[in-house]
């Protein structure tokens, strides 16, 4: 059972200690910068930032690879599509396929840019606990409360959902195995048969999830939770000087990328 999304990698590095709000802002700003200027030199600057960040974070390369792996197909697909369909004089033809040197450059550039983008977002998700991330997003989304968007409640919802993902995965696994023990097969037959084979998994899963939602709501109310009422936090977000420096550094990186 493996999480499809990149998991938090516990640590105490400088990257881990930055305020999550600063990290979210920096990653968004760098991503925008990455798309603003298309040159290999600029790309190299952003790649250097990502590599430096990952190195500072002390995350083992194996974990970074685990985060990249699900996206490998997207990267390969980008490369192939650009390679085959980019315009320009071709240096190699086979039937309807034309490869151009321009296509090769564009394909290489776009795939590399995608890799850098993935690396930057991994830097955020690997070094920030999901709760801190949701808190940061809730804080950054505060202006939306003027529009009556219940950002605090949404953040709590996401936090709880995150907390239950491992439990839910364990449950799916158990139910599937139990039905397999009764002869169910999830890998045989055509798509229709396979979809039908999921009924004995989905029905119990839904019932279980509804029951859980009900019990969870009770347990939350029993601990004095009132929807919409003001709450405080054990660990309120706190910005330090280093976070300001992080923002300055990000601005510098963008400036350099724009100038080279």
């Amino acid at each position: 059972m493996r999480m499809a999304v990149a998991q938090y990698f516990p640590g105490d590095s400088l990257v881990h200690r930055f305020d999550p709000r600063a990290k979210v802002v920096v990653v968004i700003v760098l991503a925008v910068g990455l798309f603003l200027r298309s040159s290999f030199a600029a790309l190299a600057v952003y790649a250097a930032v990502a590599v430096a960040g990952l190195a500072l974070s002390g995350i083992p390369p194996r974990w970074v690879w685990r985060g990249v792996r699900p996206l490998v197909w997207l990267i390969v697909l980008t490369f192939v599509v650009q390679l085959l369909f980019a315009p320009g004089p071709s240096f190699f033809s086979l039937g309807p396929l034309h490869l151009s040197s321009h296509g090769l450059v564009v394909a290489g550039y776009l795939s590399l840019r995608l890799i850098v983008l993935v690396a930057l977002s991994l830097l955020l998700t690997l070094t920030t606990p999901p709760i801190a991330l949701t808190d940061a997003l809730a804080w950054l989304g505060r202006p939306l409360r003027r529009l009556r968007v219940p950002t605090e409640e949404l953040a709590l919802m996401v936090t709880i959902a995150l907390r239950f993902i491992p439990t839910l995965l364990q449950e799916v696994d158990t139910i599937m195995k139990a039905q397999q023990a009764r002869g169910a097969s999830f890998t045989h037959g055509g798509p229709l048969r396979r979809a039908r084979a999921l009924v004995p998994v989905l029905v119990p899963l839904f019932i279980l999830s509804f029951r859980r939602a009900d019990e969870l709501a009770l347990a939350m109310e029993a601990r004095c939770f009132v929807p919409g009422a003001p709450r405080t936090r054990l660990h309120p977000l706190q910005a330090h000087t280093r976070d300001a420096l992080l923002l300055v550094a990000a601005a510098l990186a963008i400036a350099i990328a724009e100038l080279v």
Partner: protein, 593 residues
């Protein structure tokens, strides 16, 4: 001073046809420890919700809890501040991403300043011995740790009353002790405790026990008085603590004069050569109340005696020969987190055809994983698992694998069809049997588990009681006509009556020659059903073979956070040969008379 003072409490769930609480009366004084018992559906959980202000009574003559009136809007909200409620399933109560965050949740809801929250969280962590676990994620905790965290989360907000709704139903004995100890400590600090439970030995230390039936109070008094009333115990489908079960038989025979509730009391009550026997006339005073009732009062949970109203047709004998299972040097890792988690290491195990083997071990020792490996649902990372000496690749393996029936823990959660018949037919249909054969197999399986097709076949599985659902799920596996049954904690979170009924079914299957691998924490039942046992701990087989009672077997179980069979402890204390301790309580009564 009475903290809880309710009379004529009425509550009905939306869409229900009868009242869950139908005029309930309850008084609890400050500092009291009150146990609440009753069969499934008697209104216990509803009571917990109402006392905690989580639902509002439909009506009541009086409903005062900690000075709040539950009937008013403000009152039933405000009472949540003073009354903490802990529920059965810890997984559905933990909100925080870590233990520490979870403890903070209630305090955050009270909008306390962060500094105060942090201070109270620290205090609570220390109080519940959770400091080392403060940054642990809930899904990585053991069952006992989870429930202890949930309890700490409830009590992080200072409370006056703690209501516990079957808090140990899903825990192993070690986890149970862990949680009960935490509750005891909280109670010693002056907290008023209302403990709803199905475990009769948890009732024994209570100041008072209140029994519910059909939403009303039918008994209120000292635990000893309740258990001594055999007729009432039977009518309410309650069980007895093991000592009282044997004690009731002895009282009826005039061997002891009053009902013992614990092993110590039983020891004290039993006549020793130096003390005089109870005068016959004195014993007879108890006999009328107990003699007719004792046999059936024992029944709901006494190993070996049929439960009242339990089905009694002959069980389907497994067709063909038995099936033997072998593990050779098996290791298994779960692929989780940064590194694999070792679940089993170098397991060697043989289950002979038709043999009954108990699989004992604390939660997380690898019992469930081993059962899944034996059924071929998981493939070992090292070593091999053989069914009738055949490996997965050998011809004939699949046909034999079909005859290894695996019943998961709480299998009723996997019911999905809209009729009982359809659900049980799922397995046989997957095997590609013709309709007639499927029909026959379903009919037979339903009869075996005591849910005859003519009465239950067309009913919706979710309209059945908890115990019936459990047996229906068992039927779903039996319908595939296994020769050996692998059972994962079959008795967990059932009420005593349902446990007794399931016990009867298993006993009947065993009598018909069914092989059994029984993973359970219920050592008394395991001892009654199985002739050999395997002790697993931390993924290793610690010992496999005969029970070795009186020969280090008890110590071995204790070392691995398990309890020895009650009769073995009793025999040991009596200075008798524990290896001869009778597996059936009825035989123990016989031997002591």
């Amino acid at each position: 001073m009475a903290l809880i003072e309710v009379t004529g409490l009425v509550f009905r769930y939306a869409g229900a046809t009868s009242d869950a609480l139908a005029g309930l009366d309850l008084t609890v004084d400050e500092g009291e420890f009150v146990a609440v018992v009753g069969a499934n559906g008697s209104g216990k959980s509803t009571l917990a919700r109402l006392l905690g202000g989580l639902a509002r009574p439909a009506a009541a003559l009086e409903a005062a809890v900690c000075g709040h009136d539950l009937l008013t809007d403000d009152g039933h909200q405000a009472v949540r501040r003073d009354v903490g409620v802990l529920f059965q399933n810890p997984d559905n109560q933990l909100v925080g991403a870590t233990v520490e965050e979870d403890l903070a949740f209630g305090l955050e809801n009270l909008a306390l300043p962060p500094h105060d929250i942090a201070q109270r969280v620290d205090e609570t962590l220390a109080e519940f011995d959770l400091i080392d676990l403060r940054h642990r994620e809930p899904h990585l905790l053991s069952g006992g740790q989870k429930q202890r965290t949930a309890l700490a989360g409830v009590l992080a907000i200072p409370r006056r009353v703690l209501v516990l709704d079957e808090p140990t139903a899903m825990l192993d004995p070690a986890g149970r002790d862990e949680v009960l100890e935490a509750v005891r400590r909280a109670a010693a600090g002056g907290l008023t405790v209302v403990l709803i439970t199905q475990e009769m030995d948890e009732v024994v230390p209570a100041d008072r026990v209140v029994a519910l039936a059909a939403g009303r109070r039918v008994f209120d008094g000292r635990p000893a008085r309740l258990f001594a009333d055999g007729a009432l115990v039977r009518d309410l489908s309650l069980g007895l603590p093991p000592a009282a079960e044997i004690g009731a038989g002895l009282v009826a025979r005039g061997v002891v004069s009053h009902l013992p509730l614990s092993l110590d009391e039983l020891m004290a009550a039993l006549p020793t050569p130096t003390t005089a026997r109870t005068a016959p006339g004195q014993a007879a005073a108890f006999a009328p109340a107990l003699a007719p009732a004792s046999a059936s009062a024992l029944a709901p949970s006494a190993p070996g005696t049929p439960a009242p109203g339990a089905p009694s047709p002959p069980a389907a004998a497994p067709e063909g020969d038995g099936i033997g299972l072998t593990c050779r040097d098996v290791s298994f890792w779960y692929d989780e987190g940064a590194a694999g988690v070792e679940a089993l290491r170098d397991v060697d195990l043989t289950v002979g055809a038709g043999e009954r083997l108990a699989l004992l071990g604390p939660t997380g020792s690898g019992k469930s994983t081993l059962l899944q490996l034996l059924r071929g649902l998981l493939a070992p990372d090292r070593g091999e698992v053989l069914i009738d000496r055949l490996a997965a690749a050998d011809p004939g393996y699949l046909e034999r694998q079909r005859r290894v029936g695996l019943v998961f823990q709480t299998p009723e959660l996997q019911l999905f069809a809209s009729t009982c018949r359809d659900d049980v037919a799922f397995g046989p249909r997957q095997l590609g049997w013709d309709q007639e054969r499927v029909g026959r197999a379903v009919e037979r399986a339903l009869t075996t588990v005591g849910l005859p097709a003519d009465r239950f076949g067309a009913r919706h599985p979710y309209s059945l009681s908890g115990g019936e659902q459990r047996r229906l799920a068992l039927a779903g596996v039996l319908a595939m006509e296994p020769a050996v049954l692998l059972l994962d904690e079959p008795f967990v979170s059932l009420d005593p009556a349902s446990r007794g009924e399931l016990d009867v079914v298993l006993r009947r299957l065993v009598a018909a020659g069914m092989g059994l691998v029984l993973a359970t924490h219920d050592v008394d039942r395991a001892y009654a059903l199985c002739d050999r046992r395997v002790v697993l701990d931390a993924g290793r087989v610690v010992d496999a073979g005969p029970w070795r009672l009186g020969d280090g077997g008890e110590e071995l179980l204790r070392e691995h956070r398990l309890r020895p069979p009650f009769v073995a402890e009793l025999w040991g204390r009596l200075g008798r040969d524990a290896s001869q301790a009778p597996p059936q309580f009825a035989d123990a009564v016989e031997a002591l008379s």
